[in-house]
């Protein structure tokens, strides 16, 4: 096992040792050279991360993505928060929180929030799934390239963790006013935020782009 891996490394070293790459942060040119498992390469001008060689990156990301999709469904099905006041009860689902502004006469804001907490996170999860499967099973990568490109562009607009902070602020704010019920979706939502953060940390975009680029055409 170890020797095969080593031979593999040497083979890839011979074939692509002169491949020029540029730092995504500052544009400084470097030459790509394969790394040992677990090592990282950094830019010599600005110190930014260039690429990593993580053991089992694809499998971990795949597991996290599947967990994330499950949690995403749970989060959207169950109520997030409930409020009881003098016999009356109000429940809030994730979609309800997005549509609250719609009822208030601000459809633009409602649209923005739906994108932030439902559409973009779902798009990210599905893209990760397609990308990981494409690399693993050597599928033609044009779809995965398209999806991954837009996922990277939309990344800052998916705001699950910011919404989580908003939920916490709202919970504390309402705490003294009324009886607050923390719904099942609250916990799956917290899990979803952690899962997606872990997937983002594990995924090395450089390695993904390289792998997708090879399968292309």
């Amino acid at each position: 096992m170890q020797t095969i891996l080593y031979a593999d490394l040497i083979a890839s070293f011979m074939s692509v040792s002169a491949e020029p790459i540029a730092c995504q942060e500052c544009g400084q040119l470097h030459r790509y050279s394969p790394l040992a498992l677990g090592k990282t390469a950094n830019c010599r001008r600005c110190g930014a991360l260039l690429y990593r060689n993580r053991p089992d990156m694809l499998d971990s990301v795949l597991a996290l993505t599947l967990a994330g999709l499950t949690l995403f469904v749970l989060t959207n099905v169950f109520p997030l928060l409930g409020l009881r006041a003098q016999g009356a009860e109000q429940e809030l689902h994730l979609l309800g929180a997005s549509l609250a502004f719609w009822d208030q006469g601000y459809p633009l804001l409602a649209g923005l929030i739906i994108l932030n907490i439902i559409i973009f996170p779902l798009f990210e999860l599905l893209t990760l799934l397609v990308v990981v499967l494409t690399i693993r099973y050597h599928w033609r990568s044009s779809t995965a390239i398209f999806l991954f490109r837009w996922m990277r562009e939309f990344k800052p607009w998916g705001m699950l963790e910011v919404f989580m902070l908003g939920v916490l602020v709202a919970v504390v704010k309402l705490g003294d006013l009324a009886t607050l019920i923390v719904g099942a979706a609250f916990w799956s939502f917290a899990g979803l935020v952690l899962t997606m953060a872990a997937a983002t940390t594990l995924l090395d975009p450089f390695s993904v782009w390289r792998a997708l680029g090879k399968n292309n055409g």
Binding site: L92, A100, F101, L109, L112, I117, V172, G213
Partner: protein
């Protein structure tokens, strides 16, 4: 590969490709790997676009802070709150951690973003080589922190969605929340359009062009 050969880097996937020696008018280049649009340094409109977005955000910052963002009615009584009066009410109620979160996310961060992006743009336009490392770090922080300003908009969404008990208790959203969200969105776009590589290679590009 010669170091000084004209290579273009795709900003989306990082792929390098050879820059054509001449580009026809209105000719558009695309990244060979991911298909994103590529621009030559002299085609860049990053600085102008970022200024336009920043100025629009600065203008909307005024109604965002002076118009009420949310109204809380308890037993029929209540009044609209702006961002600042909202923070003040939280302080009055002794919820200072919340007051701090809202104050930082809704007032400090947008203002800081407007100032740091303007500062970076001016330093790029003056072709400054001053502390490129720190300016790059400043850009990264600004870009990262900006989205957290949305927290107040989300809180309003949750409260209006949850607290609807007619005359007993009701939370309504007001116009200020729309202009506030617009400020956040515009500054996020501004941070995206600002081409951070300009911090490094303005001087270098000048040398290459002459």
């Amino acid at each position: 590969m010669a170091e000084n050969e004209a290579l273009l880097q795709c900003r989306v996937c990082g792929c390098l490709s050879h820059a054509p020696t001449q580009l026809k008018r209105f000719e558009v280049m695309h990244c060979p790997r991911c298909g994103a649009r590529l621009k030559l340094a002299q085609q860049s409109t990053s600085v102008e676009e970022t200024w336009a977005l920043l100025i629009a955000a600065a203008i909307l910052y005024i109604p965002a802070n002076f118009l009420p963002i949310m109204s809380v009615y308890m037993l029929g009584a209540g009044q609209p709150d702006t961002i600042i009066t909202g923070v003040y009410h939280l302080l009055e109620a002794g919820q200072w951690p919340l007051a701090l979160i809202v104050f930082v996310a809704s007032i400090v961060v947008p203002l800081l973003k407007l100032f740091t992006l303007s500062f970076l743009l001016i330093s790029i336009q003056r072709r400054s080589r001053w502390r490129q490392h720190d300016r790059m770090r400043l850009y990264r922080i600004t870009e990262y922190v900006g989205r957290w300003s949305m927290v107040d908009v989300f809180v309003i969404a949750i409260l209006t969605g949850l607290v609807q008990f007619g005359n007993l208790a009701r939370v309504d959203a007001n116009l200020g929340s729309l202009s506030f969200a617009a400020v956040v969105v515009l500054t996020m776009f501004a941070a995206r359009t600002l081409d951070e590589h300009l911090i490094w290679d303005v001087a270098q590009q000048e040398e290459e062009l002459t």
